[in-house]
Symmetry: C2
Subunit: 136 residues, 2 copies
């Protein structure tokens, strides 16, 4: 039976995020406290990695680490939720943060489409310049 958990190095390789950064994320509350061996070594589950990758996407799309830490507060709600314990405040807080970010994402998509168009046009423009030059 193979090991169910990963060391920080394995997570680093799997996600492309350095071990330094992962530790930094745990220290600053971006990641919830990760389970340890009795010796103190972190044991990442698949769920931890999935959560980390989700947070990275939030960050990449403009959520600050501070706001991500606010989202992560109360750590892994999933367990409690599955056990039927539904803590109202933390759940509401997460909904609020995600709704706010959802709005940002819609805005970003809009601006992205707009810029993509502008960039494509500019490329055509410069290419046209070079072609004109050929025809001397």
């Amino acid at each position: 039976m193979r090991r169910q958990t990963m060391t920080i190095q394995e997570v680093a390789e799997k996600t492309g995020i350095s071990a330094y950064t992962i530790r930094f994320y745990e220290k600053s509350g971006i990641l919830p406290r990760i389970q340890r061996t009795q010796g103190g070594i972190r044991q990442f589950t698949e769920a931890d990695v999935t959560f980390l990758l989700f947070l990275i996407e939030l960050k990449r799309t403009g959520m600050s680490l501070e706001e991500i830490a606010e989202f992560t507060e109360d750590g892994c709600l999933l367990e409690r939720l599955q056990q039927g314990d539904i803590p109202q405040q933390p759940v509401e807080r997460r909904i609020t943060i995600l709704r706010k970010h959802e709005q940002r994402l819609y805005e970003q998509r809009h601006q992205l489409d707009y810029l993509l168009d502008a960039v494509t046009q500019k490329i055509h423009f410069y290419e046209q310049c070079l072609e004109d030059r050929q025809n001397d």
Copy 2:
């Protein structure tokens, strides 16, 4: 007849970018050298502002200031291009940089759609939790 140019404060108000930052952008080559009065005061044209806003969008979508400065090098090509002078190297460099960024933009749009979906689903999930709680 009204003035054709703007001071740095006016540009700051118009764009939402602080005067400090605009000076910093000129100093670090993100903006080309702006025309001055004989007294040394910057006179921004509409074209300067348009260019600045375009650069801001490049930045917002992940282009580093270093790369933007590389794009801006050789300043305003538009005048020379309109005069029929087509400097090959600078034009090719701009095409290369823009093509690279175009790829990033496509990738971003893809990931954005994916994340938007994930976020929307998570919101529904948490909302469902609260509803379940109501029905006790």
